[in-house]
């Protein structure tokens, strides 16, 4: 039982926020003008070990950076900032002021959308730090396992990106949005629709495949037929990415949300590392799915056709492969894989409107490392990038870990632009 209690302490605790619905919404509706000054954001900083944390500076700004107010948390760890009106606000806490042993779980800031008359609770995740100071975990093993899980998620999304590049030559900057749509679709089905997460994830994959097919049939196939240049296509994919990303923000909002299922799981101790059951499950699922993809590419007829088209499109076409059909299947597969990756990422890091875009650059890093256009290269490269990003926190602060991944990308381009598994002819 003492082990159980220790595990309990290992849990990241955070918590917060007074989603105070105490302000009567009826009043707000009756007098929207007068209630304009009643919006506020608030929260509580505390962890089980440290208790409430007093005297941490909390800064509230608008998204474009205009400061609203700066306050310090009181003896109960609470803070409240009145706002000039509804809208989006960014809440940032001063990491330096946190007591010894308490660290941020993720970013030091969070952007929330405040509706008229609402007191919006803001949750900034804190961790006890007990994971690092005791409990028998070895930090680099823990980071390696976390990195492996993260890398597998990147790989799932990146396989499609790489195959699409290989078969059509398109550098698809809108691929991150396929990841996001999976996560958001599953969230709506799970939270609003009340469907358990596993069937919701399957539906999200079908939606992802559908969106992929729609991409190909609605945009890229007609454009190829018109003979649109690859650079123009690339800029079009950026336009599509902007369009979808901000559409998601309008529909989903600027906040981050968790699924209903599998919340607040405790980490299970595996000796040198700990892992929650959901993280273990997503690691296993990702591994299984990627193995299936590899078997499919290696053994099945359509898989061989995909590799053939990626290798040399004209030769493939002249040996009787229906190139357009293969490309359509690649898009559907890429969409479904990206959507599943999004669901699993949403499970561990919560669902956000720009989660896919933030992942996109790491996907590019993985794909470039492995070799642009090759399926297996994307797999290997993404896993390396995931592990590298997580393990880099051994030497660099947590909030700049993505920078390490992006730096790795630039170093790869200098040292070996064709990647680990790529061939030199592709880059010239």
């Amino acid at each position: 039982m003492s082990r159980g209690r220790m595990l309990l302490r290992l849990l990241l605790l955070s918590v917060l926020g007074g989603v105070a619905l105490t302000l009567a919404p009826g009043v707000a509706h009756a007098q929207p003008e007068e209630s304009a000054a009643s919006e506020q954001v608030s929260g509580t900083l505390q962890t089980t070990l440290s208790g409430p944390i007093e005297g941490v500076e909390v800064v509230v700004t608008t998204p474009d950076g205009t400061e609203i107010d700066t306050v310090e948390t009181d003896e109960d760890g609470r803070w409240v900032v009145p706002l000039p009106g509804p809208g989006q606000y960014t809440v940032t806490i001063d990491e330096e002021a946190l007591p010894e042993g308490v660290v941020l779980n993720g970013a030091d800031s969070r952007t929330v959308t405040v509706d008229a008359g609402r007191n919006q609770g803001v949750i900034i995740g804190l961790s006890d730090g007990s994971r690092n100071s005791g409990g028998g975990t070895v930090r680099w093993v823990q980071l390696f396992v976390d990195g492996l899980r993260f890398g597998l998620l990147i790989a799932m999304a990146a396989v499609g990106l790489s195959l699409i590049f290989g078969t059509t030559g398109l550098t698809n900057f809108a691929h991150g949005e396929l990841v996001t749509i999976g996560a958001i679709a599953a969230w709506f089905i799970n939270v609003e629709g009340g469907v358990p997460l596993i069937p919701a994830a399957v539906i999200a994959m079908v939606i992802g495949a559908g969106v992929g097919a729609l991409n190909e049939l609605g945009i890229w196939r007609p454009l190829r037929r018109r003979g649109t240049g690859l650079i123009a296509a690339l800029v079009i994919s950026i336009g599509l990415s902007l369009l979808l990303r901000y559409l998601y923000q309008i529909i989903f909002g600027g906040r981050s949300e968790a699924y209903v299922d599998y919340r607040g799981q405790r980490a299970v101790d595996y000796g040198p590392f700990t892992l929650t059951d959901k993280d273990l499950a997503s690691l296993v699922i990702a591994l299984a799915v990627l193995l299936l993809v590899a078997v499919m590419l290696q053994r099945t007829k359509i898989g061989k056709a995909m590799r053939a088209v990626a290798d040399n499109r004209d030769l493939a076409a002249s040996s009787g492969i229906n190139v357009n059909r293969v490309i359509l299947v690649v898009w559907m597969m890429g969409g479904a894989l990206a959507a599943l990756g999004g669901v699993l990422l949403g499970l561990s890091d919560e669902v956000q409107w720009d989660m896919g875009f933030r992942l996109l650059l790491l996907m590019f890093a993985g794909v470039t490392l492995g070799g642009l256009g090759t399926a297996y290269g994307a797999l290997v490269g993404s896993i390396v990038v995931g592990v590298f990003v997580q393990m880099s926190t051994l030497v660099i602060p947590n909030d700049v870990k993505y920078v390490g991944g992006l730096l790795l990308l630039i170093v790869i381009l200098i040292v070996r632009p064709q990647g680990i598994l790529g061939s030199r002819v592709r880059v010239g």
Binding site: V59, T61, P63, D64, G65, E67, P86, G87, Q88, T90, T92, E95, E96, D108, S109, T113, G169, T171, L223, R226, T228, G229, L230, I231, A232, L234, V235, I236, I238, G239, L240, S241, L242, L243, L244, R245, Y246, L247, Q249, I250, L361, F364, A365, T368, I396, P397, D399, V400, Y402, V403, L406, L407, L409, I410, L413, I414, P417, R426, V427, G428
Partner: protein
């Protein structure tokens, strides 16, 4: 009707104000790189950030002279261009695109990180570095002036005036450059790199020059923006701004000297008009709150930019002034 005229006046001010100048300078830089040389720089905003922060850090943090700050900003942009160009300019176009967008995102994350607080003041940014610049104005900067039915503060007017002079000089420079032998080589690189190489030109060096020069123009844009807002905050330099500049460039017409300038003015005019117009329609109840709320309007602009970018490239890749044959680029 009065609201419509108000919205037009606000939009007109935006189309002439420092934001439009910022966008125009970014787009002029991209025009040199993308329009004339065929380079895909997707990290133009990073150059702007270095420009803005060059002044902000030098003046606010290090207590240096304003002009030293300008030099620091330009130097930082040159170094970034060299760092990005050295490995990627020998590779196919999309490698430069990926490297530059990664660098822009990475730099922003770095500037806003807690560990960078002693230099950049992290997410809270820097302020109070433009006094020396504002003091240079030949008129009283504390007064407010009325121009074409819009109100401007003296300082705003000064930034705007300096900015448009910069834009004019940049256009003149580009005009002279593209008419010179250098411009002909650069345009040939866009059309057929191998042919230029066969003529004995060092393609790599020409590409690098275009990248550096475009980066400096981007840095100047960032400086105007930082001086206009009076603050430098990492999140002002989001990646989407680079694509805003691309959209402006393509709208005006790539590979045309005045294309990016007209595009940027028009772009800001349209965005601001749509912004104000939508807000008015929502507060008046013409658009029901359930469909679109006032907080969504800020996002609508990016949706429109994305849609505009797609439609322009599909149906009119040459924009308003461009020549269709000049913008049919293909990846190499």
């Amino acid at each position: 009707m009065a609201e419509l005229i108000d919205a037009l006046a606000v939009a007109l001010k935006a189309g002439l104000g420092f934001q439009a100048i910022f966008l125009a300078l970014l787009a002029i830089g991209i025009n040199l790189q993308f329009g004339y040389t065929g380079l895909l720089n997707f990290g133009q905003i990073a150059f702007a950030m270095l420009g803005g922060y060059g002044i902000a850090i030098s003046v606010s943090q290090w207590g240096l002279n304003f002009w030293v700050g300008v030099a620091v900003g330009i130097l930082a942009a040159v170094v970034l261009a060299l760092l990005l160009g050295l490995p990627t300019l020998r590779l196919r176009a999309d490698y430069l695109a990926i490297a530059t967008i990664a660098a822009a995102e990475g730099l922003r994350l770095l500037f806003r990180s807690v560990s960078a607080t002693p230099v950049t003041n992290a997410t809270r940014g820097l302020a109070g570095f433009n006094n020396e610049f504002v003091a240079l104005a030949p008129w009283d900067t504390a007064r407010r002036y009325s121009l074409l039915g819009t109100r401007w503060s003296g300082a705003e007017l000064w930034v705007t005036a300096v900015g448009w002079v910069l834009v004019a000089l940049a256009c003149l420079l580009i005009w002279l450059l593209v008419r010179s032998p250098w411009g002909r080589v650069v345009k040939s690189i866009r059309e057929d790199e191998d042919a230029v190489r066969a003529l004995g030109k060092n393609v790599y060096v020409y590409k690098m020059q275009a990248l550096v020069l475009g980066g400096i123009l981007g840095a100047l844009g960032g400086m105007i923006y930082a001086l206009g807002t009076g603050s430098a905050i990492p999140d002002q330099y989001q990646n989407a701004n680079t694509f805003l500049a691309y959209a402006a460039l393509i709208l005006g017409g790539a590979a045309r000297v005045l294309g990016p300038v007209v595009g940027a003015m028009l772009m800001y005019f349209i965005i601001q008009f749509a912004d104000t117009g939508l807000r008015t329609l929502i507060t008046n109840g013409v658009i029901p709150e359930g469909l679109l709320s006032a907080t969504d309007v800020a996002q609508i602009r990016f949706v429109l930019i994305g849609l505009g970018l797609i439609l322009l490239l599909v149906f009119r890749p040459q924009g308003i002034f461009g020549d269709r044959r000049e913008v049919m680029l293909d990846a190499r």
